[in-house]
């Protein structure tokens, strides 16, 4: 209460000394996190076929259209109307636009990054882009749409920092003593599906397994000592440019 009084007093002083200030502009990021992130996710990509942080929308392209959807919702869908002012809705749209342009911006040379990807870095020995390369590692054809540049850079420099669940490798030992390693594609109570080290799709009944172990470390080496920081920057730029199926 005291804090409120002091604040009120200060505000009164400020008002007395200066001409009435216009209210601070709405904070688009804060409004987004409070009102949109629970459904759309903090990165804006939690709703199918929508990626707000990368400029990927289902039903709108222009700012006025987007502001209209924020305000009025989409009838007969999960997107409700919101009691924002026009300025608040515009601030949210501006925040999303800025986020998308940050994601698209790249300091490095994407063309050189592509050359490193297929050449010096030998990334294609595990990864695949647009049908070229190995299937053992994750397909990177749209990695620029799925991950932020900072995440991509960290994955190159420190691959063990985080292996996302969809990219985890497992080691299976069957009752017959056969060991199978590969990238886990799916699993349920009764079966496990993976892509093994020979790029074969395998589905194995859990009942036939003696051991099921996640491989904690990433099979990918760190490129800190293999590429210069400039080369890593170029590679990141190339990967960020891989936006298949997304955007406008």
């Amino acid at each position: 209460m005291l804090a409120i009084l002091i604040f009120a007093a200060l505000a009164a002083v400020a008002q007395a000394q200066a001409p009435p200030a216009s209210p601070p502009p709405p904070n688009g990021e804060q409004l987004y996190m409070e009102n949109c992130a629970d459904c759309h996710g903090p990165d804006g990509d939690a709703v199918a076929d929508v990626d707000l942080g990368h400029g990927r929308f289902r039903r709108a392209t222009t700012d006025p259209e987007l502001i209209g959807i924020v305000l009025r919702g989409i009838p007969n869908s999960a997107m409700p109307p919101h009691n924002f002012s026009e300025a608040q809705a515009a601030a949210i749209v501006a925040f999303l636009r800025a986020k998308a342009s940050r994601a698209a911006a790249s300091a490095g040379d994407a063309a050189n990054g592509r050359a490193i990807f297929t050449g010096k870095g030998n990334c294609v020995s595990c990864h695949r882009v647009d049908g070229e390369g190995s299937r053992i590692g994750p397909d990177l054809s749209e990695i620029g749409r799925l991950r932020h540049s900072t995440d991509i850079e960290r994955a190159i420099v420190d691959p063990d920092f985080m292996v996302v669940p969809s990219n985890r490798f497992v080691r299976l030992v069957t009752r017959d003593g056969v060991t199978i390693t590969g990238r886990l594609l799916n699993q349920d109570i009764f079966t496990v599906q993976l892509l093994d080290s020979k790029e074969q799709l395998r589905s194995i009944a859990r009942a036939d397994l003696r051991q099921f172990t996640f491989i904690e470390k990433s099979p990918m080496p760190s490129y800190t000592d293999k590429l210069s920081s400039r080369e890593i920057g170029d590679l990141v730029s190339y990967l960020v440019s891989l936006q298949r199926g997304g955007g406008q």
């Binding site: 009102n35 919702g73 999960a78 009691n83 996302v164 349920d188 996640f214």
Partner: protein
């Protein structure tokens, strides 16, 4: 005509009359009270006033359950296919099944064939903004009337024979974030329900409406206002936006004439700075006089909650010995990770044991049941501490089951599941989310993708059915799934347990041991509570998954 013949004819006429009456029988309050005596029907969301989701039907046994096959599959044709979440538990009365197709279409089906009789299609206002899906979990029935709450805050009464609207009452403002999602509860001549909207700064309540007219008979404010007991547990004007939502169906004890409801989180969810105090009656169970709505007692599970641990779960009633004495008990598996036993006549706390890993409290006070909080275990900015259970809780809206046959309580569980909690500033604006933060995945940067949670690491968190002994809280067995679960649990007198999970399996376990007896892959996550009924001497087990309703019976 001889006297004998006349007498025979009279008997025949009477018998026909009784048969006809039973075919077209009205679902009286008396029938609802004695629902257990007509197990071929499923008369309310949880199958009976005690909400045990247990059936006396025993045609499907552990021995023959492997012979289950689909009798029929009913595919939804919702006007909103992109937002379909099908979480309904059907009601079945004498061979007629009533379901709700998202968002608010009631459909009457032939329970033998799945063929529809009629559909009542309700067109919700575009102002509706339910937080967590444009869905409905089911109807209530009384006499020949069906009752449904809508996502835009209406309560409607429908003729169960024709599907025609009888009355339509606008109860709450959808513009302010109020919505109805759960099946109402009919007690005597009143239909009781309360609104969802705990993420919008609503002021929650329970209200009873006259089944004949829809006029409001009583209302109990779940967030007390000035002059009401419990008001002192709120700071300043925080009570005006205090939350306390209702999104599951309550229970009722006819002998005590008390109706029991679990109450949702306080608002804003994750930031309690401006609502110092216990914030009654959020995260509580309330016991109300069913005639007047007067509070008989309350028990608060999570005072001053900042983890979104809504206590809306189903209050399950059971008459069982407690420490050697017969007692009117309530079993309550709470989102906060504890399983509670209360005396449902007085609200006395009898026991509370964690059924999942809990790290936000070190335990419960043995006398009061109040959680003993651990310093530093709170939402923060930036998020720092991993809290067990996570934001969706140890369990949630998916129904538990209690089998008087095994004496075990069955909980659909998220095991080894945690979240990082974020505290943000928030200001109340009508109709806008009023959450004050959120929950984040423990593994940062993971995209949840279409329709799925990948919050749990696949080798750590998992969904399960956990069977516990309510007398001790001890885990008797666990059926572990690979994915998480949104499926309720059904048990039967033959000791068969039905449930499902996020992987799309619908399965039967031995309720005594947890042994898998049968499974079927339904092709989409099971997001509903199974129920059972019988028509023409054939027991069916029915469950909603994806955008279809599956009804199984034994192969003939």
């Amino acid at each position: 005509m001889s006297v004998l013949m006349t007498r025979c004819l009279l008997v025949a006429v009477l018998a026909f009359g009784i048969a006809a009456a039973s075919v077209h029988a009205q679902v009286s309050f008396d029938r609802l009270v004695r629902a257990a005596q007509e197990p071929h029907n499923w008369l309310s969301y949880s199958g009976g006033y005690f909400s045990q989701r247990y059936s006396e039907l025993a045609q499907i046994t552990p021995e023959n359950v492997r012979n289950l096959e689909p009798a029929w599959i009913y595919q939804l044709n919702s006007r909103e296919p992109t937002s379909t979440r099908f979480e309904v538990t059907p009601v079945v009365v004498d061979g007629i099944m009533y379901i709700v197709q998202p968002p608010n279409d009631i459909i009457a089906l032939d329970a033998v064939t799945g063929r529809p009789f009629w559909m009542y299609s309700y067109n919700p206002s575009p102002q509706a903004r339910p937080c967590c899906g444009r869905l409905n979990r089911g109807v209530a029935i009384h006499d020949d009337r069906l009752f449904m709450g809508t996502i835009d805050g209406h309560l409607v009464a429908i003729d169960a024979k024709t599907g025609k609207l009888i009355w339509d009452k606008s109860v709450v403002r959808p513009e302010s974030g109020y919505a109805f999602a759960s099946a109402p509860l009919v007690v005597k001549d009143k239909v009781i329900l309360g609104p969802a909207g705990g993420e919008y700064g609503i002021r929650g309540f329970l209200a009873a409406f006259d089944v004949a007219t829809g006029n409001e008979a009583w209302r109990f404010n779940l967030i007390p206002g000035p002059g009401e007991p419990g008001f002192e547990t709120w700071q300043g004007d925080a009570w005006k936006t205090g939350g306390g939502s209702i999104w599951l169906t309550g229970s009722y004890d006819p002998a005590l004439n008390l109706t029991y409801w679990g109450v949702g989180n306080p608002g804003p969810d994750w930031n309690g700075d401006n609502r110092e105090g216990d914030n009654l009656y959020t995260n509580s169970v309330v016991a109300l006089d069913a005639d007047t709505g007067k509070l008989k007692w309350h028990f608060q599970f999570s005072p001053h909650d900042e983890f979104d641990y809504d206590a809306v779960q189903i209050p399950v009633l059971a008459d069982a010995p407690w420490q050697g004495q017969p007692r009117k008990l309530m079993y309550f598996a709470n989102r906060n990770g504890y399983f509670y036993v209360l005396d449902r006549a007085t609200g006395q706390f009898l026991s509370g044991k964690p059924f999942v890993e809990v790290n936000w409290a070190s335990g419960l006070d043995p006398k009061s049941g109040r959680p003993i909080r651990i310093a530093g275990k709170a939402p923060s900015a930036p998020p720092g501490t991993l809290i067990f259970p996570g934001n969706q809780g140890g369990t949630n809206w998916y129904s538990p089951s209690y089998s008087p046959r095994t004496g075990l309580f069955y909980i659909p569980t998220w095991a080894n599941y945690s979240s990082l909690y974020v505290r943000d500033k928030v200001e109340y604006v009508e109709g806008r989310r009023f959450a004050g933060g959120g929950a984040r995945a423990p593994v940062p940067g993971i995209r949840s993708g279409q329709g799925g949670y990948s919050w749990a690491k696949p080798d750590e968190g998992y969904g399960a059915v956990r069977a516990i002994d309510p007398m001790t809280g001890a885990l008797k067995w666990e059926y572990k799934m690979s994915d998480l679960t949104w499926a309720g649990v059904l048990t039967t007198a033959a000791n068969v347990l039905f449930s499902g999970g996020g992987e799309g399996y619908f399965y039967a376990l031995d309720a005594r041991t947890g042994t898998l007896l049968w499974k079927a892959q339904l092709g989409s996550a099971v997001r509903s509570g199974p129920m059972t009924y019988s028509v023409n001497g054939k027991q069916h087990v029915t469950v909603a998954a994806g955008s279809a309703l599956f009804s199984y019976k034994l192969r003939e």
